[in-house]
């Protein structure tokens, strides 16, 4: 166990009278009795009082206990944790962008509107779809927005329909988003290849089904090769094909969802388009659609006429707003910078390298860890802990041991169709050297599982804190500091 100094909570180093910020003096006559008619608080009880050096050290020390993409590989499957180019941060901090009020008159923010319109155009080219909104704040928010568009369309035909079909391999947000949109979820079984069972789909698809939500490539990293046939089945009964764009990193520049008969999809700018994930957001989840769904897009939509940009609110069939203002503007700016930096060849190379890296990892780990589905995969692959279970070692133990090797573990919580999943997505920004480091660690851990399983079950050993008691946290919730 290493000796690392423990960083206290800010409240524990607070001492009366300290401050890290000085306000300029009040330059208007002070009215002592202002707000005398409403209840005021006399104090913000126990709020921190610290100096600026204390603030700087507190957050610097805390930052040093975090793993991040700037430190090394972050192979979380379906999360696309690629390196975030620094120029994009610089661009997104240009004062002309950061200092604009969202309710500024349109003629004073033409630059902002032009940038958003430009991103919309490029995303439509990449997806092969026909209309788009940048308003949703994250991937799950995009899913919800997409389902709302579908519902609004069906409602306009007189019947919103009842069900949404979702494969059993889907991310948890899919069923949750469909549910919050007022739909009941029906699950479709995967076949032996790990893809959607066309038979099951044909059986379940009827005029009560509003849409099929499909992730492609799916969460196993497998491309749904039957997608056009799947789309035809869904369309034949008047349903829509929704594509979860979480895994677009495998397809950009290679094929286009619109050409694969997808009707509506969301994109994760914080995955495919490299905007930093920030330890849990902000993300952005633009939604692109076929022409038929355009009238239902959230308000406002950005329009351009003779080089002048305009926000159109007059959209009688619109679902309304899903968020305030126009979405995650600065996130959109970073994504635009990323695409413009790559260009058409660079974008294709991004997908190719991501798929190459994933297949290189897969090839090198095959045999050591079980691959439940041996179907060819694109940008990610899903192993399991089946071989290690013989020694009483689980995917959790393997992941925690990876921490001792200074690496971030794969995704474990899904897909639900693989028990003990280890879902690995390296992304294109890892060098062969970084991939080999990961492979060597995984090999060593497979060996350790046989020879010294206890080492894994008690891992991690050298992290800032060791395995944490999550049961205690849930059973006896302490959710805030109290004096």
């Amino acid at each position: 166990m290493t000796k690392v100094s423990r960083e206290p909570l800010i409240f524990e180093i607070s001492s009366a009278g300290k401050t890290a910020f000085k306000l300029p003096a009040l330059d208007v006559p002070e009215k002592k009795d202002l707000l005398a008619g409403v209840p005021l608080r006399t104090d913000i009880e126990n709020f921190p009082e610290v100096s600026e050096p204390e603030i700087a050290r507190h957050f610097t020390r805390l930052s040093q206990t975090n793993y991040c993409v700037d430190i090394g590989i972050y192979p979380l499957g379906s999360c696309t944790m690629k390196y975030n180019p620094k120029i994009n941060e610089k661009i997104a901090s240009l004062p002309g962008l950061t200092q604009t009020h969202p309710l500024a008159p349109e003629e004073l923010v033409q630059g902002n509107l032009e940038l958003m319109k430009m991103l919309e155009k490029l995303l439509l080219e990449i997806t092969g779809l026909e209309a788009i909104t940048l308003q949703p704040a994250a991937g799950a928010h995009g899913e919800l927005t997409g389902m709302m568009l579908i519902r609004a369309y069906h409602q306009a035909q007189g019947n919103p329909r009842k069900y949404v079909l979702i494969p059993d391999s889907a991310h948890g947000t899919n069923p949750s988003s469909a549910h919050i949109c007022g739909y009941t979820v029906k699950e479709i079984k995967s076949n032996e290849r790990g893809t959607v069972s066309v038979e099951d789909l044909t059986r379940l698809m009827d005029e009560d089904v509003a849409a099929l939500m499909l992730t492609n490539p799916n969460t196993l990293g497998v491309f749904e090769s039957d997608i056009c046939q799947i789309a035809d089945i869904v369309h034949s009964r008047g349903g829509f094909l929704y594509m979860d764009g979480a895994n677009l990193n495998a397809l950009a520049g290679i094929t286009r969802p619109g050409d694969l008969k997808v009707d509506v999809m969301h994109l994760n700018l914080h995955k495919t388009f490299s905007t930093p994930h920030g330890g849990g957001g902000p993300g952005a989840g633009p939604v692109a659609v076929k022409k038929i769904l355009e009238p239902f897009l959230p308000v406002p939509v950005i329009e351009e006429k003779n080089g002048v940009y305009h926000l159109n609110y007059n959209r009688p069939q619109s679902i309304g707003r899903v968020r305030s203002f126009y979405g995650q503007f600065l996130v959109a700016v970073k994504a635009l910078a990323y695409i413009l930096n790559l260009g058409p060849a660079g974008l294709k190379e991004m997908a190719e390298t991501a798929v190459l890296n994933s297949n290189y990892l897969r090839k090198n780990l095959e045999g050591l860890y079980e691959l439940k589905y041996d179907t060819p995969t694109l940008h990610e692959c899903v192993f399991s802990d089946k071989y290690q279970k013989d020694y009483g070692v689980t995917n959790l133990d393997i992941s925690k041991r990876l921490l001792d090797y200074g690496l971030h573990p794969p995704t474990m919580s899904f897909p639900l169709i693989v028990h003990g999943a280890l879902m690995i997505e390296p992304t294109e920004t890892e060098s062969r050297r970084d991939l080999d480091l990961f492979i060597e660690a995984m090999k060593a851990i497979a060996r350790e599982a046989k020879e010294n399983p206890e080492l894994l079950r008690t891992a991690p050993h050298i992290t800032y804190v060791r395995r944490l008691d999550e049961v205690l946290a849930a059973r006896n919730p302490v959710l805030r500091w109290e004096k």
Binding site: R41, F47, G280, P282
Partner: protein, 434 residues
């Protein structure tokens, strides 16, 4: 690497994609730009925005406050910017501890017992709050004050209409507050919640205590949405006055205006409703050596465990924005934040006084305000606005979408408005109306 995989071309990696579906040429995107070209492109576009050249009194859900340098500096560290959601707590204690501090600060500001790790923004926070009350009470009738930010109300409608919820808007009185009679008439045993905003969209501070008493009598909940959270440093906490849920927009706490995003939703509630709270929550625990640590907890509410039965579909939220708010709040601190709030109120009061010395210009509502207020002008505000703009001033947000407020505007004042700037607005207004 291809050799290791056993393939002779990159194309073969994509053999699972049917040949006819594969693009035969490159996408029609602009040619790749180098870093200097990229920067020049965005500088050029950013300079097409002329907003900065104006003296602006715009607020209404987005506020121009000073941001201490330490916020930008510390939050731009790669260790905060480039990790994922902290699924591996042993190597994410920085992020987790920051969120735990954030939750504590939000509890201290709102006077409630529990806060989550963040939501998207104030508008979706308002929608999540009414959905939460609908779940907790298992009732479909939602009352929403017409003085709630119109964008927030629009998002509530967008979310609510798919779930068959009955949404009733309550009128406001001469003071600019929820009209007690209107509330009484609308409240019944089927009501899940009243959502009000305080200070509301007209800047007026609601009588939260009376509203809470009225709704609790009928077994409903009171949810309060806050668009200017700096007010929480000065006004009695909504929690103490009886609110069950407090949600809002945290942009004022260290986030630049950024043309509307990314912003920061926050939400706090009473302990008894914790299982209904949407979004991530961080809790304290110990590791195997007994050392304190922090983890994501109570995740059985969430979509990755509960799927369609989750309290919300939210996954990625606004972690980095919450980090900025945490640094901001801890920098301003106990005295600084309160003083800043007091200064905002003083400056707004001064501005209201100065602007209403112009003949024909008066305060629309008599209720007390924090840092925003509605002025009524002797003619349509749109005309006045054009004239002010020609003189370099953005004098407020026109309220023509509200019945009877054609001649009115919402004016916002923060610590960034010096006396000189306020006086300039007052002088220019006199000129324009002469």
């Amino acid at each position: 690497m291809l050799v290791r995989i056993g393939l002779d071309s990159v194309d073969k990696l994509f053999s699972s994609i049917p040949e006819p579906n594969r693009l035969k040429k490159l996408l029609n995107l602009p040619a790749a730009k180098s870093e200097p070209e990229l920067l020049a492109y965005f500088e050029e576009k950013s300079q097409k925005n002329n907003y900065n050249q104006y003296l602006s009194f715009l607020g209404g859900g987005a506020y121009d406050h000073f941001i201490p340098a330490v916020v930008d500096y510390l939050s731009s560290r790669g260790e905060f910017l480039s990790p994922y959601t902290p699924y591996q707590p042993e190597i994410s204690q920085g992020t987790l501890q920051v969120i735990f501090e954030f939750q504590t600060l939000i509890c201290q500001l709102t006077g409630l017992e529990i806060a989550n790790a963040s939501l998207y923004d104030g508008a979706t926070g308002a929608a999540e709050a009414v959905l939460m009350a609908h779940r907790a009470k298992e009732k479909n009738r939602l009352l929403v004050a017409s003085t709630v930010n119109p964008q927030y109300r629009q998002v509530i409608y967008t979310y609510g209409k798919n779930l068959g919820l009955e949404i009733i808007e309550l009128p406001c009185d001469q003071q600019g507050r929820v009209e007690p009679k209107g509330l009484e008439a609308a409240l019944n045993q089927e009501t899940a919640v009243l959502l009000c905003q305080s200070p509301n969209y007209f800047g007026v501070i609601e009588d939260i205590k009376s509203l809470a008493e009225a709704v609790h009598q009928k077994g409903a909940m009171l949810a309060v949405v806050i668009s200017e959270p700096l007010s929480l440093a000065l006004l009695e906490t909504p929690g103490k006055l009886g609110a069950d849920i407090v949600t809002g927009e945290g942009q004022s706490f260290g986030l630049p205006l950024s043309y509307g995003g990314p912003y920061l939703g926050f939400m706090a509630c009473r302990k008894e409703f914790v299982r209904q709270l949407p979004g991530r929550i961080v809790g304290q625990t110990v590791d195997v050596d007994g050392r304190r640590g922090f983890v994501l907890t109570l995740s059985t509410r969430e979509q990755h465990i509960r799927r369609e039965k989750a309290t919300s579909n939210i996954c990625t939220n606004e972690g980095h924005c919450a980090l900025r708010a945490t640094i901001y709040l801890e920098t301003l601190g106990r005295k600084g934040l309160k003083e800043l709030a007091w200064f905002n109120a003083q400056k707004a009061a001064y501005a209201r006084e100065q602007l209403t010395t112009t003949p024909g210009v008066k305060s629309k509502f008599s209720g007390e305000v924090f840092n925003e207020f509605v002025l009524e002008f002797p003619q349509s505000f749109e005309d006045i606005n054009q004239k002010l703009k020609a003189r370099g001033i953005l004098g407020g947000i026109g309220l023509k979408d509200f019945p009877g407020l054609d001649n009115c505007a919402l004016v916002t004042v923060t610590e960034k408005h010096s006396q000189e700037k306020i006086d300039l607005y007052a002088r220019t207004l006199k000129e324009v109306l002469r």
